[in-house]
């Protein structure tokens, strides 16, 4: 009986988040609101909501506010929260999920650090076309697009000395079987949707 009711209604935001997170159950429903995650987070002070607060908001179905939040974008993927969570919630993975959802819903721009998306975008653009990342390219292209000033700083300052030290390529390396990779990524995109 309960099941029939469940299948009748559309999935809640909470259920969407859980479904879009890879691996086994991320245990989001187990959150005790203890704040261990928010307390452990290195960039916690810069987030507009702590992860804990975000989880409460997810449960409350505040989809818009959650996907507009800068929290996921400030996640540095250090996984400290996940190591310490007393309920073994896959916090970092959920942050990734929220980023993807924010992008899908086009809400990431509203979050105060939309640059993150720009960087990721530039980064994977190289990966998709060369099979390898290309620091100089990523950096310059991304900076030119997002903060031109620092791009110049880059090229002249640190970037330059990196180059002098032989720690930066001028041209990207391309993998041999790029077509294979492209085919795979193409197929993956077509299959789309989170697992």
């Amino acid at each position: 009986m309960a099941t029939t009711i469940a299948s009748a209604r559309a999935p809640t935001f909470f259920e969407e988040v859980v479904a879009a997170t890879p691996g086994a159950d991320p245990h989001l429903e187990l959150c005790l609101q203890c704040g261990t995650c928010g307390g452990s987070c290195p960039s916690g002070p810069d987030m507009d909501h702590t992860p804990r607060a975000l989880f409460a908001m997810i449960d409350a179905g505040m989809k818009d506010q959650v996907l507009r939040s800068n929290t996921p974008w400030y996640c540095v993927s250090c996984y400290y929260c996940m190591v310490r969570c007393p309920q073994e919630i896959h916090i970092t993975d959920i942050m990734y999920t929220l980023k993807r959802m924010a992008i899908k819903e086009g809400l990431y721009r509203e979050s105060s650090s939309s640059d993150a998306y720009g960087f990721s975008e530039t980064f994977i653009d190289y990966v998709e076309n060369y099979g390898r990342s290309f620091e100089l390219g990523v950096a310059t292209r991304y900076h030119l697009r997002h903060h031109p000033l620092s791009a110049i700083k880059m090229a002249t300052g640190m970037g330059f000395s990196m180059f002098v030290k032989g720690r930066m390529d001028l041209t990207p390396t391309r993998i041999k079987n790029l077509d294979q990779l492209k085919a795979i990524l193409g197929k993956a995109k077509e299959l789309g949707g989170a697992a």
Partner: protein
């Protein structure tokens, strides 16, 4: 000991020193690396933020290749020196095993490139893991010809090497100690570095420099508070952030940190008596030269704890438990 080797993009260039030194010390430690043929980028932390399935497909192409190319009898052990690559590869393998649905979709994508990956068929290891666990401290101690006496080292693991937390790790996920032990095996004086497994800022240097510089500052400050001569890392991203942005930190916070950031493989090489040029020394932005001159004769009296005053209360014993 033979292993498959996945250098990852960084080691081709910005972390070239890591690559060189790793190759230089492999022989003496009895390790043979067979680089994975035509490997591709692991997507770092970027791809997964944008699209799930392609990200997993991208990573698992490497796993599939590793499984396929296991010709030299690597026992399907794939070693990644870069912590981010290591974590991505390990996590993908684990999650594919955990969720058949994910594995199915990823393999559907791989099929487009005539590849297939059976979760669990490749075991992903970090370079530090095989050095401390497979080679072992004793074997390393035997090879040490130029002990790093008098050098105060802050061992810095960064975060990803012992994470994500829901997957078994080769060292403590909160407060690892293998690198500490390795460095003291080399004769160095090891700092009990509180921030040893904290974050270096990762890609924040690009996205939000202010956030990143603060994270980097914490690490540099803590290391200098502990009078460390240098910080030794196991990850190209950590090295890059702490090394290349040290200048920026000093400018922003009016500090004057000058702490060289080196790779653990470089230190092993040094202790093995390998010439610095073959270990990629000189590539670091903060010159390691001055610090290295501190290396000298064995300290006559070991820096042992001075006897506590008679009022002092006993410290808890730290037995091997928990």
């Amino acid at each position: 000991m033979k292993y498959g080797y996945y250098p990852g993009c960084s080691l081709e260039r910005n972390a070239i020193a890591y690559h060189q030194s790793a190759m230089a010390v492999a022989g003496p430690m009895g390790i043979e690396f067979n680089e994975l043929e035509d490997w591709n980028c692991c997507g770092a932390t970027e791809y997964i933020s944008i699209d799930l399935l392609p990200a997993y497909a991208l990573i698992s192409r490497n796993l599939a290749l590793a499984a396929q190319q296991d010709l030299e009898g690597n026992g399907n052990q794939l070693v990644a020196p870069c912590s981010a690559c290591f974590l991505n590869l390990k996590k993908t393998d684990h999650y594919m095993a955990e969720s058949p649905e994910l594995s199915e979709k990823v393999n559907a994508a791989l099929a487009a490139g005539d590849l297939h990956y059976e979760p669990g068929s490749v075991s992903v290891r970090h370079l530090l893991d095989i050095v401390v666990d497979d080679v072992g401290f004793n074997a390393i101690a035997e090879k040490v010809t130029n002990p790093l006496y008098n050098l105060r080292i802050a061992p810095y693991y960064g975060c990803m090497i012992v994470r994500p937390g829901n997957i078994k790790s080769f060292d403590d996920q909160e407060y690892p100690t293998s690198l500490d032990e390795l460095m003291s095996t080399l004769g160095a004086e090891v700092v009990d570095f509180p921030l040893k497994a904290h974050c270096c800022g990762g890609h924040m240097t690009q996205i939000s420099e202010s956030v990143a510089l603060e994270l980097i500052r914490r690490l540099l400050k803590n290391a200098s508070d502990y009078d460390a001569d240098m910080i030794v890392t196991v990850c190209p991203m950590c090295q890059l952030n702490l090394d290349a942005y040290q200048d920026a930190v000093n400018k922003k916070f009016g500090t004057n940190y000058n702490i060289p950031i080196l790779y653990f493989t470089q230190m092993i090489g040094l202790a093995f008596g390998i010439s610095p040029d073959d270990l990629g020394f000189g590539k670091e932005m903060v010159d390691a030269g001055p610090a290295l001159t501190k290396i000298g004769a064995e300290p006559s009296l070991k820096p042992k704890k001075k006897r506590p005053s008679k009022e002092a209360l006993p410290m808890p014993s730290m037995g091997e438990d928990g």
